[in-house]
Amino acid sequence: VPPVGKATEFMADLYAKGRDALGAISEGSAKVTSVVDDWRTAIDAYTTLEEVNRALPEMAKLTPIVAPQVKKFLMAKAKALGFVWNPGTVCFGARAPEAAGAVA
């Protein structure tokens, strides 16, 4: 903080820095939203087990803020399609016929 007598532009500089920082945050957030939206659109169109499983390695490459959001979409979609997570094979599998029948 400069001496008060010389601080003629201090507040203006501070304001400009704050505005730039907020601008950068808004821009960054918009980019994240856009990536998440692209994934949402893609996942919405999945219909097969292969498509769902093919997304898994791609999801691992996403940033920490994007990945959990996309994962949530994917889990919901897989569930809606009747696929179940197999921790042993670390991928989705088709629901066993008897289990599917029990649910139906």
């Binding site: 945050i25 960054g28 957030s29 980019k31 939203t33 998440v36 920490p64 959990p68 949530k72």
Partner: protein, 226 residues
């Protein structure tokens, strides 16, 4: 071992020198998931559910969740703060800290902005949220651009008809360098605490910390010897 940020925050609060409202039994119950919710917690939980899916709890004159009702004019300002179009609720992620997996569930993420919705029966206290290890873990695990706490001061007057007395918005952001260290220390301490169990319910705060340090020293010594 997996542990939630909520449990870690309970542990941090328990270790505060001046805390006298949480007993060791409460902490152990929290770690074991046997926590018995108070009416204030139930009210906060009902409010959170309505915030997340208001349509699900819609009634003719407002919202109802469990034993609690929220009038239209009570909920309107809170619902306005939510972004239902782009936002995603209850987003879960985990990260390993040493041999402990810390699990974090964000109340809402909108793009790169993470939101936590908190309720309190008393007045807003900035330090309570700023000191919390929860947002520090969120910053490290999700790496959001910002973390914002929406804190709602609720009162149901004991009759289940809730009102929001005030709401406050408080934002935290990443502090390079110091977050991960703090998170690792916190996770490691709490995990060890959970593993070893915690005994002696009458111990004071300073006794607890003294015993904690003694146990840690002895554990390290046995590790070196073994």
């Amino acid at each position: 071992m997996r542990i939630s940020t909520t449990t870690l925050e309970s542990f941090r609060l328990f270790m505060q020198p001046d805390q006298d409202w949480m007993t060791e039994a409460d902490l152990i119950a929290s770690i074991k998931g046997e926590f018995v919710p108070t009416p204030a917690v139930l009210l906060g939980s009902a409010f959170g559910k309505v915030l997340e899916t208001p349509d699900h709890y819609r009634t003719a004159h407002g919202y109802r969740c469990g034993d609690y009702t929220f009038a239209n004019d009570v909920m309107a300002p809170a619902l306005k703060l939510m972004d239902y179009e782009r936002g995603m609720f209850e987003v879960k992620a985990a990260r390993a800290y040493g041999d402990c997996d810390v699990v974090a569930v964000a109340d809402q993420i909108v793009g790169g902005h993470l939101f936590e919705h908190k309720t309190t029966g008393s007045t807003f206290n900035f330090e309570k949220y700023a000191d919390s290890c929860q947002w520090r873990f969120y910053v490290d695990i999700f790496q959001p651009l910002l973390v914002t706490y929406h804190v709602f001061e609720l009162d149901d007057h004991g009759n289940g008809v809730a009102e929001i007395k005030a709401s406050t918005r408080s934002t935290c952001s990443r502090i390079p360098g110091c977050i991960r260290t703090a998170a690792i220390c916190s996770a490691s301490s709490a995990t060890t605490c959970a593993r070893r169990g915690w005994t002696g319910s009458s111990a004071s705060g300073s006794d607890r910390r003294r015993r904690w340090r003694r146990n840690t020293r002895s554990r390290r010594a046995s590790k070196r010897a073994g």
